[in-house]
């Protein structure tokens, strides 16, 4: 946690309300996101208990498994899930725009421009918490290697149609969620903690109800039980804290948490006192037991469902950052690419990435992280303030500009700019500096020297972003009294050198793919007994 964030948390403690960590929204929020609130059976890896799914906050679809230990009921749940999710995911596949991309021509070996399809928009899944993202991955893994009756008529226990396809999409979403800044699959706690600092620890922020209680505390508790608070006089208004503590542990007359865990794990007390007896009644064939279980599961899901939408409302109140659309475009590329793989009938994603793929994924995630860090800082003065505090950027006022030219046959403009700054950024000799120009381009410069006569003043030499002519393009050189912000980090970091193709990768690094590479998409063994 950076010092600025620590300070924001302490402000939140003092005021009793969450403090902003960002002044703009740093993640894309779809016009029509699909919210998915899953629940799982405690102690079981592959036994979902229920879910609320949908794009309409008033009409979520409730899916529930009355007995998770029954394979047929689990399959029925997954089939229903595929039915309610796949139309949404596929709904973005056919509206496309055309983009030009350079591709290597296989015959001539030259780079030639080609027109490729790019989906105009992409689906966006929102789950309540980080554990929800892991659960999407887990469901993806459990479904994508299944075989339907159509694929393998002979195999026993075929999966319902579309279930393997949903598994592949879930795997794709889960994998994409590991790319920093990607927004195909987001968790509400992740979104909210990015934009607000609460007066509690990061660990406690994982509770969605408590997190929301700090950001937007309810006006008054419905039950007006006077709480004994021994608050220090300096700390006014404990509403956020009181609301968060209530969200964590308050229970109703039945012993149910008013704000159940955001899943996929359930509250153990709910399992033991309500769910287990109801399941026993279902197993015994008591009429109405199934409806009772549906009601119980909905009672645990609905508060979280409402909380996720509440969070979406709060986030929509923030203006989007200028570079968010750029990152969303990469998500659209990712969606389009997976759409193409599914259409081409490629096999499901392997169980484990081979060495070459893993290295490529890691490299691309590192680049994405560097780009995200740079873009967030450029979009948001509050994030930039953190970088300035860390000595990675400096902001100042221009006091003088002196025209100068480079030496050589074609002298280029290299103006010297003197600025005054309060930032005490340690600058090595000839440090490279970057500045965002109003038109979105980046200007480079290098640090020359600290001005001797004035503390806090320094001279930089502009080295680019001024066009090709002998005179700089208008607006590309700052003028006295302009406020400028220089960063020590690149604005569009590219990552390391490109990795070789798999065929050219030496065997020491996992390539080339030999004949031994057995197909990794063999289904999980299905046993006659339901070993769960």
């Amino acid at each position: 946690m950076s010092l600025i964030e620590t300070l924001a948390r302490m402000e939140a403690v003092a005021t009793g309300r969450a403090a902003p960590l960002a002044t703009v929204r740093h993640r894309h929020l779809s016009e029509q996101p699909l919210v998915f609130v899953p629940l799982t059976t405690a102690g079981e890896a592959g036994a979902p208990l229920g879910a609320l799914v949908g794009t309409d906050r008033e009409k979520p679809a409730l899916l529930a498994v009355p007995q998770p230990r029954n394979r047929d009921l689990r399959f029925a749940f997954l089939a229903e899930l595929a039915e309610s999710l796949l139309p949404y995911v596929d709904g973005f596949a056919d509206v496309v725009e055309w983009e030009e991309r350079k591709e290597t021509d296989p015959e001539t070996g030259k780079k030639v421009p080609v027109q490729v399809e790019l989906c105009a928009d992409a689906p966006q899944l929102i789950v309540p918490s980080a554990a929800g993202i892991d659960f999407v991955r887990l469901l993806g893994r459990s479904m994508r290697f299944r075989r339907t009756a159509e694929q393998e008529p002979e195999a026993p226990y075929p999966a319902p149609p579309h279930v393997p396809l949903l598994g592949r999409w879930f795997t794709h979403f889960g994998e994409r969620a590991r790319v920093p800044g990607a927004s195909l699959l987001l968790s509400m706690t992740g979104l909210l903690t990015r934009h607000w600092a609460t007066g509690q620890s990061l660990l406690e922020d994982q509770h969605l109800g408590a997190l929301l209680a700090w950001i937007d505390p309810p006006a008054r508790h419905p039950t007006s039980t006077p709480r004994r608070q021994r608050s220090a006089p300096a700390l006014q208004g404990v509403s956020g804290r009181a609301a968060a503590e209530r969200a964590e542990s308050a229970r109703d007359a039945d012993g149910r948490l008013l704000c159940p865990p955001a899943g996929p794990a359930t509250d153990p007390a709910f399992d033991n006192r309500l769910l287990a007896p109801a399941m026993a009644r279902f197993d015994a064939g008591v009429p109405g037991a199934e409806d009772e279980i549906h009601g119980l599961i909905e009672s645990q899901l609905r508060p979280t469902w409402d909380a996720v939408w509440h969070g979406i409302d709060l986030l929509r109140g923030l203006p989007p950052g200028a570079r968010v659309a750029d990152r969303w475009k990469r998500d659209r590329w990712s969606y389009t690419a997976h759409r193409d793989r599914v259409r081409a009938g490629e096999p499901p994603q392997p169980r484990r990435d081979d060495a070459v793929t893993a290295a490529q994924k890691l490299a691309s995630r590192e680049t994405a992280q560097a780009q995200l860090d740079a873009q967030e800082a450029l979009d948001d003065p509050l994030v930039m303030a953190g970088r300035r505090l860390a000595g990675e950027a400096l902001e100042g006022t221009v006091t003088a500009v002196e025209m100068a030219f480079s030496e050589g046959r074609r002298p280029m403009p290299r103006p010297l700019v003197t600025l005054r700054t309060a930032d005490r950024t340690p600058l090595p000799e000839r440090a490279k500096l970057y500045r965002a120009l109003p038109d979105g381009k980046t200007q480079t410069a290098e640090f020359v020297a600290y001005a001797a006569e004035e503390p806090g003043a320094l001279v930089v030499r502009l080295t680019g972003g001024m066009g090709r002519g002998r005179t700089p393009e208008p607006g590309s050189v700052p003028e006295p009294d302009d406020a400028v912000c220089w960063t020590l980090f690149e604005h569009a970091p590219r990552g390391g050198p490109e990795l070789p193709d798999p065929e050219d990768t030496p065997w020491t690094h996992g390539g080339p793919p030999g004949a031994t590479g057995a197909p990794e998409d063999t289904p999980d063994t299905a046993t006659a007994e339901d070993f769960l």
Partner: protein
């Protein structure tokens, strides 16, 4: 073994002071004076709770907490104490997870542990002759009380090691010294190899999917297993002395988990040398219970004065005072590991302690301990170093205060700029 009589893992309340009168020579024993004072802390007639390996691992993760060391060392029921203090713990175990864990363990140990030994041989002893299922000794370890069971376990280990064959000890009982008083821990199984090596087996019900399990859960299991290895080493010393054979407690334990999404077992060796070193060091660092108990005001007790139907009749104010008499080291991580954490958190928040926001927060704050102090320093309202006169232009000496002021100024500037921008946007 069938499901109903599968022994429950982590069953508590083994330590019974009646049996402690004649401990076997190999067990660490508390001094009579300490035992008396711990009984007084618990309250007359209250049975002590046993420390399980999970609690030990949690205790070792926060060795600076004197409160936890004392309460655990005295065998006090922290859950009931927290309830009586008005800040009950919220966690528990779902019976679904419990049943699943038990049925999985029963499956692994079925048929005299044939599956278990097959996995152990595959993962740890490839290339050696596999154990014949019929030739594996499974000694009966039942005895009265934890001391009796620990003595029985020590005897069985000695016999099995002397016999030089394979042996599977199902739920043995081991003693380990914690802060000067003995605690009894119960591994899921211990396997004796023909060469005299001993391996701890840990059976967990979280899945191993495509050969990979959740790293946090494996870490917790490894810390727990390290406690067992540590406890076994004491016994190994005695057995080696008696039998004259070299006894080695293997530092690679076998972790048995369900494979993928099924209930069929798979296993992986886990190297616990690091956890072992950590646990050993942390346990050594734990302030001795004796010293903590001696520093308490005379007459301090945590007796809840329970009625017959289990209600606490002790006034919460008295209990609070007793709990406050011994210092705690609260961090948000406690919430997942200690029953008393909600009480400690309440106090930490009321005191405005910076640790309530996270363990790492303190690092950048120098000598500032409360949120109030930090905010005052950040706004420049009150410079803590009162003896050195500071002017407005000169930065205070403390680099932490300086960094805080800079951070506060930068933050305020950015927020003001953003507010201006949004106002402009509204005007347009």
């Amino acid at each position: 073994m069938s499901v109903p009589d599968a022994r429950l893992p982590r069953v508590n309340a083994f330590r019974d002071s009646r049996h402690a009168a004649a401990p076997p020579a190999e067990q660490p024993a508390p001094s009579p004076g300490l035992r008396r004072s711990l009984t007084a802390l618990r309250g007359a007639g209250v049975r002590p709770r046993s420390l399980d390996a999970r609690a030990l691992a949690a205790l070792a993760a926060n060795p600076g907490c004197r409160r936890r060391a004392l309460l655990d060392g005295a065998g006090i029921d922290k859950g009931a104490l927290a309830q009586a203090l008005g800040s009950p713990a919220t966690y528990g175990q779902s019976q679904f997870a419990f049943v699943r864990g038990n049925s999985f363990e029963a499956r692994v140990k079925a048929d005299g542990g044939a599956d278990l030994l097959r996995l152990l041989h595959e993962r740890l002893r490839p290339g050696t002759p596999p154990p014949e299922p019929a030739a594996v000794a499974t000694p009966d370890l039942s005895a009265a009380g934890p001391e009796g069971r620990a003595a029985r376990t020590a005897l069985a280990l000695r016999e099995a090691t002397a016999a030089g064959g394979w042996a599977l000890l199902d739920h043995p009982m081991l003693a380990v010294e914690v802060a000067g008083s003995p605690a009894y821990v119960e591994p899921d199984a211990v396997v004796v190899h023909p060469d005299g090596g001993w391996t701890v087996v840990e059976i967990k019900s979280f899945p191993m999917i495509d050969g990979v399990a959740d790293a946090a859960k494996v870490g917790a299991a490894a810390r727990q297993a390290a406690v067992y290895v540590l406890a076994l080493e004491t016994v190994a010393g005695h057995v080696a002395a008696r039998t004259g054979r070299e006894v080695r407690v293997r530092d690679r334990v076998l972790l048995v988990c369900p494979k993928d999404f099924s209930n069929l077992p798979t296993a992986a060796p886990v190297d616990v040398r690091k956890q072992l070193a950590t646990t050993r060091r942390q346990l050594a660092r734990l302030t001795r219970v004796e010293e903590i108990a001696a520093a308490l005001p005379p007459g301090t007790t945590f007796d809840l004065r329970l009625t017959d139907d289990g209600r606490a009749t002790r006034p919460p104010e008295e209990l609070t005072a007793a709990v406050e008499a011994v210092g705690a080291a609260y961090a948000p991580e406690c919430l997942a590991a200690c029953e008393l954490a909600f009480h400690c958190r309440k106090r930490a928040r009321e005191d405005g302690a910076v640790e309530a926001l996270g363990r790492g927060v303190r690092g950048e704050l120098g000598g500032l301990h409360t949120i109030e102090e930090v905010l005052a320093a950040a706004t420049g309202a009150d410079v803590p170093a009162a003896d050195t006169p500071t002017t407005d232009t000169a930065a205070p000496d403390d680099p932490a205060v300086h960094a805080l002021r800079r951070a506060a100024a930068l933050r305020a500037e950015a927020l003001a700029a953003a507010a201006d921008r949004s106002q402009e946007a509204e005007c347009r």
